[in-house]
């Protein structure tokens, strides 16, 4: 019940801001669309014609995932920074629910609301390129949900760092590119990145959307990595966040106004 209250108000806030600041929302969609167009044209001009279609499909999915990570992981970093300057972070920290629960609710709310943008972007990309991907929701959603859990874990790590670090702006700028790297670099190039949060999930979603793979065709190892990834990063993320929260409370960093 109390969890539900958290989720409700955070969904409400995300939604209000999405609608009330519609120009901002549209600008975000536009930015990611322009970046996508740039990559799409790049493939047309310099790409190998035999793999053009496949590359385009990869770029569609990768770009969406980049957007998804930016709107959860990167966003939570900016939120923590801004709210510690505003003083609202302190106000939230006084909630008997505990700040980590509020953060979890926020991350969930953020993804739910941003899904609207994600779907708009997906169809916009598919329409522009004429590449219609395999939208097999029954296969995509379970993978995506588990992937999100590991994304939230990373979100917690970023939120923790943002709380403790003072010059966090530069760090968050760099993070954008790290996230882009994780979203765009193929797993085949560097298999190790499968163990990074959300990369395995992204790879599996690509298999479904591009190669038409279904859940039953995915190997146990892949599931293992996917689920292990989610559990480890989420637990690690929350533990790290709480550790940072303690440091912040020791040094008086919950507010730097």
């Amino acid at each position: 019940m109390r969890w539900f209250s958290l989720l409700r108000v955070n969904l409400q806030k995300e939604y209000i801001e999405l609608v009330r600041y519609l120009p901002n929302t549209i600008a975000t969609v536009f930015t990611f669309y322009i970046i996508f167009l740039g990559m799409f044209l790049g493939i047309q001009v310099v790409g190998d014609p035999s793999t053009q279609e496949l590359n385009t499909q990869y770029v569609i999915v990768n770009n969406l995932f980049w957007f998804l990570t930016m709107s959860t992981i990167n966003k939570v970093g900016w939120q923590v920074t801004n709210e510690s300057m505003r003083g609202t972070l302190e106000q939230l920290s006084m909630s008997p629910m505990g700040i980590w629960r509020i953060m979890t609710a926020r991350l969930i709310a953020s993804t739910v609301i941003n899904f609207i943008i994600l779907i708009v972007l997906l169809y916009l990309s598919m329409f522009t390129t004429g590449q219609w991907l395999n939208i097999d929701l029954l296969s995509i959603l379970p993978i995506l949900l588990i992937t999100l859990v590991s994304m939230y874990g990373l979100g917690f790590i970023i939120a923790g760092i943002s709380m403790v670090l003072k010059q966090v702006d530069a760090f968050l700028q760099i993070l954008q590119f790290i996230l882009a790297g994780l979203a765009f670099v193929p797993v085949t190039v560097a298999p190790i990145i499968s163990y990074f949060p959300f990369v395995k999930g992204l790879d599996l979603v690509r298999s479904v959307m591009i190669h038409g793979v279904t859940l039953s065709q995915i190997s146990v190892t892949d599931y293992g990595i996917l689920i292990g990834n989610a559990i480890i990063y989420f637990v690690l993320g929350i533990a790290f966040f709480m550790f940072c929260e303690r440091i912040a409370m020791k040094r008086g960093l919950l507010a730097h106004y």
Binding site: R2, S5, R86, G87, L92, S95, G252, L254
Partner: protein, 326 residues
């Protein structure tokens, strides 16, 4: 400890390390005090005295280096989330609101994040909007509100938690005289109609004089005075005298008197003179009369000075009286 105590601050100290420098700032130095249920306590002190740090430690936002803080008998470090149920606060400034949300949305958002459900909260919000005269602004974005209204909303947000203890850090800071007065009146209403325990930190003497039963004066992280407001006023009023003399003092006389009373203020006029003086000890007034009589100076009138809280505060901070009070 007494059952009545709702907040117990026990030997609490806090030192900050300045970023990048090897410098340390001791903000709070071994402070102890109790707050009784329903008490309105003022925390007074000059800039950097340690008021905000003390308040944040009570709110569980800052971990003390030493000492413990009990809320309803429970350690607020060991049982942080449980003790937070009994606490709400408005911290320094009036910016702890979401500027992109409306007045009502802010109230709803903070309530939800405390785990309060929508139905239970709606009525409380309506009542608060009326009480804080924000009803006609409920759908206004916070960044369009005046500073005073933002401050009122911040207080309303803290009130909504319906906690037993309410902490207000500088509730009138940065407000103009009129708005400051309005907020003060509002707080008076809250103080008079509620059973809450309230801790208010302020530079604004009027706030403390108007609202508080008891005042703790902090300077350099230490408690200088802990007493009832009435007591402090009485104590200082009794000791403060204005004496009008029928003739001027000679330089020699003045020197003699100044030697005995170094802080005495001598204001000569054409034929008369006024002496303003505070006495540490009751017998000192007799010493002064002794000196005046010796020199055959006629005393025309003696007035016991009226003193406001600001003067009491200044004197305590200057340390002139501290030793006599603690």
């Amino acid at each position: 400890m007494s059952k009545e105590n709702i907040v117990e601050v026990q030997n609490v100290s806090k030192t900050y390390k300045k970023r990048r420098q090897k410098e340390f700032v001791q903000a709070v130095n071994n402070i102890s005090f109790d707050v009784k249920k329903g008490e309105i306590l003022g925390l007074l002190g000059p800039n950097g005295a340690g008021k905000t740090s003390t308040i944040k430690m009570i709110c569980g936002l800052l971990i003390p280096d030493e000492g413990t803080i009990l809320i309803n008998g429970r350690d607020n470090q060991k049982n942080r989330l449980e003790t937070l149920r009994d606490i709400s606060a408005v911290l320094e400034g009036n910016r702890n609101l979401y500027w992109r949300l409306t007045v009502r949305e802010n109230l709803e958002y903070f309530a939800g994040n405390r785990g309060m459900d929508k139905k239970g909260v709606a009525q409380t919000i309506d009542e608060l909007l009326v009480q804080f005269r924000l009803r006609d602004k409920e759908n206004e974005l916070v960044n369009r509100l005046s500073r005073g209204m933002q401050q009122k909303l911040a207080i309303a947000v803290a009130m909504m938690a319906d906690s037993q203890v309410l902490l207000l850090d500088e509730p009138t800071l940065g407000l103009d005289v009129e708005t400051g007065y309005e907020v003060r009146e509002l707080l008076k209403e809250i103080v008079n109609n509620q059973e809450r325990t309230i801790i208010i930190s302020s530079h604004d003497m009027a706030v403390v004089e108007d609202l508080c039963d008891r005042v703790i004066i902090i300077n350099h992280g230490r408690i200088v005075t802990d007493d009832h407001v009435d007591n402090l006023l009485r104590l200082f009023a009794v000791r403060s005298y204005t004496i009008t003399l029928g003739q001027l003092l000679s330089d020699q006389q003045l020197q003699l008197i100044k030697k005995a009373f170094p802080h005495l203020e001598y204001i000569p006029d054409t034929t008369q003179a006024i002496i303003k003086v505070d006495f540490d000890q009751d017998h000192e007034i007799y010493d002064l009369f002794e000196l005046l009589k010796m020199n055959k100076t006629p005393v025309e009138s003696i007035e016991q000075g009226t003193i406001n809280f600001e003067q009491v505060f200044m004197r305590i901070i200057k340390g002139e009286e501290a030793h006599a009070l603690v």
